[in-house]
Symmetry: C2
DNA sequence: GTCTATAATCCGATAGAC
DNA sequence: GTCTATCGGATTATAGAC
């Protein structure tokens, strides 16, 4: 490598691409979708904006890469549930892994579920789409497993999975918007208690039992004590 | 009014303010948060951009007004549930009114639950915030009413209300992102079936009954027949 | 109340030198 | 592979004429 070139070439092509992607994820995490620009990213990486185009064809391609990385992180959180030693434990761990990812990376979680045009892209790349389907399959497998083990009422696993997914996603979204707890916000410990109590309600059912009438359970009392 | 002034003055101040607000809501509905700009709005109203500042101090003030109008529409949908003649019917109508508003005005619904910075404002105005609280109170009242009538298991109405709200919000969000049905999207009729079936699951509970084991209910069979 | 004109920023992307 | 310089566009908002 000639001395004149060494002045500019600090990273190799692929190293710098990796470096840009890391900084891009950081910027996404800090400023969210709306604050993500090529110029800001270039400033953060320590180069000028045009240099980024040597590594990514466009802003859109860069966003794709960030979303792909986000999906990979979420998958890692979820798949850790396979460490559980029973169907019930694996389902519980999957639920916890999902919400943990959402709480640890709220801007990434937002971006994964935002409308494509809101992220500044036309539509999700097929690679990311496929990862989403894989996550869905993993989730449904955990539920089917619990039905087979007699822990969940037998029904269509996909339908039950959707109910649980929608509930988790909704609770996470409302929490992220600060709509759950009136005073002290950002309290993840309090949110986790609310989250678990709400899931317990889903399992038990909101309707009255045919025989036992107006009985109260422990989990419900814990939830009732919280300021919601 | 002198002839020279009449050339420009077609609306009175408040009439034009109203007119701008209507067009602003339309533009919001069409282009969403990210496509809402003073210049687009001016073009649509039929004036130039600076003219808008005679009626609204800033873009932010205009967004406030649009969000306030959106909340008023949502409230109207919800409060219609008071026409119901029993607690169960009023709760059902409230749930249907909520989802109906979300499906009829998806961009407004998005805006109401989006992070303030994503709408291009610092934070929600207190007027809108207060309307949100009122909606929450109305919803909790419907649930308390059903507990008193023995239709819902007795528990903290706010906690149960949160579970139901999160589930509805999550399902609506996932539907709006096209994540529910693989092929034909935008099918609101199919979504309503999924929505109602999922609520039925919440009421009945996902866990197994202590005695009846693996029995199947009608609503679940209907849901299982759907492609999810 | 509305206009024209313009200030002041931001953005994505490209050309060509080194 | 990175630079400087620049194009072409978007935006919010203001000043001053009528």
């Amino acid at each position: 490598m000639s001395p004149t070139r060494a002045l500019f070439t600090v990273f190799t092509m692929s190293e710098q691409r990796e470096n840009i992607l890391v900084h891009a994820s950081d910027l996404f995490v800090k400023d969210g979708v709306e604050g993500f620009s090529m110029r800001k990213l270039a400033r953060r990486v320590g180069v000028t904006a045009p240099a980024l185009y040597r590594h990514f064809d466009s802003r859109e391609a860069l966003v794709f890469a960030v979303l792909g990385e986000a999906y990979r992180r979420m998958s890692r959180h979820l798949y850790a549930a396979l460490e559980g030693e029973s169907p019930r434990e694996r389902l519980r761990l999957a639920g916890e892994g999902y919400v943990t990812f959402a709480l640890e990376h709220p801007r990434l979680y937002d971006a994964l579920f935002a409308s494509p045009e809101l992220v500044g892209i036309a539509e999700l790349p097929p690679e990311v789409e496929a990862q989403g389907c894989a996550v869905g399959r993993f989730w449904n497998d955990r539920i089917r497993e619990c039905m087979d083990a007699g822990i969940l009422r037998r029904a269509d696993p996909e339908a039950v999975g959707l109910t649980l997914w929608a509930h988790a996603h909704g609770l996470i979204s409302l929490h992220a918007r600060g709509l759950l707890m009136p005073g002290e916000n950002g309290d993840t410990a309090a949110f986790m208690i609310i989250y678990r109590a709400s899931i317990a309600r889903l399992i038990q059912g909101l309707g009255v039992d045919v025989d036992e009438g107006d009985e109260q359970r422990d989990t419900l009392e814990a939830a009732a004590a919280l300021p919601v």
